[in-house]
Symmetry: C2
Subunit: 180 residues, 2 copies
DNA sequence: GGAGCATACCTAGACTTCGAGGTATCTCGG
DNA sequence: CCGAGATACCTCGAAGTCTAGGTATGCTCC
């Protein structure tokens, strides 16, 4: 998930690690930013894997910076990840939201395909949190305030996403200018 | 996070692993249920740690079942976890939602404290996804449909939770019947 | 001029969860 | 009676992330 975010942010910008770290924290809404010990070793691995390159710069505020940019392989890797159906079938919901943040880098048809897959997931998966067998649950079915809150939050999130998915499919359908 | 969910579900019920697995999947809304290879070894570790015990039962549908129940230490562990301020400061948002699902096991005053901490987090953390410096962002600030969707979903989720937090604090304040 | 703080990067070990396999039991259809 | 499928549990190695330490630079305030 982290590597997807890194590829996404570097796709059209040149950033250094410290900056990247702040942007990732903002994107994922994490309470604490991701740990240094997570980000920097990953950047090294990605560099070793030929996905990005770094240039040392003097550093405008304090210590010298390692400015990072994607290689051609790195840009291809992002586009492949964005198109990959497996990115949806992941335990961590954050994964899909990170993907959403960078789906703009894909041309309409493959982006539409990703949105369609996501919608299909909602329609076919029972989403068992919201159902008791065939009966849709209501907040009143929970006898404590806490699960009622959890239910309200989950419902709001799902409803908003479904609404957006519907609108998006209408917008995207027909407008096919294949680039990626 | 998984162990918190296990403690929560077993607090007032006796379940076997397979059932637990389905409930956890439903609770966290994970696309794929958690892997067997994750759950069963964890259950063994928790048993070795004295948090739960198992009894073998013949199995009503198929293979024999290992019925699990919490020990006194296990129940104490859950209450401690629910009260632990650190459970909020975790990168994974799921953590807080799992906690919310079982907060009913706490008496009012400590539950209220957890809710207060969560609200404080929203009010003090810049929540940088929603702000450009001091200016609140709007959907129109994003020039692609995908980030607009992401923004809409994040906004709906946050707004719903903040509304619930406000209501809950009104409900809980004053009603102090200390049990846990 | 030195203490404190933000910037900027790094290492090593540990923990959690995943992925890909495997075994055994029971029911039901053919 | 045998194969398919759901139930129910298990092992082992790999991947991803965290925790807890560390180094070095430049600014600001006293």
């Amino acid at each position: 998930m982290l590597d997807l975010a890194i590829l996404g942010f570097l796709y059209d910008e040149r950033l250094h690690g410290y900056d990247l770290r702040k942007r990732i924290a903002a994107l994922t809404g994490h309470v604490r930013p991701i740990a240094d010990g997570t980000l920097y070793p990953l950047l090294k691995r990605m560099e070793a894997g030929g996905l990005l390159t770094r240039e040392l710069e003097p550093g405008q505020i304090a210590a010298p910076r390692h400015m990072l940019s994607l290689t051609a392989a790195g840009r291809t890797a992002l586009l492949d990840r964005l198109r990959d159906p497996d990115e949806l079938y992941i335990t961590d919901e954050n994964r899909w939201f990170v993907l959403l943040a960078f789906l703009r880098h894909l041309a309409d048809p493959p982006a539409q395909a990703a949105v369609l897959r996501r919608r299909l997931h909602f329609l076919t998966q029972p989403a068992s949190f919201f159902w008791d067998g065939d009966r849709p649950l209501r907040a009143a079915d929970f006898d404590d305030h806490f699960r009622q809150g959890l239910f309200a939050i989950a419902t709001a999130t799902t409803r908003t996403e479904l609404k957006w998915l519907r609108e998006t499919l209408v917008t995207l359908s027909g407008a096919g200018t294949d680039q990626a």
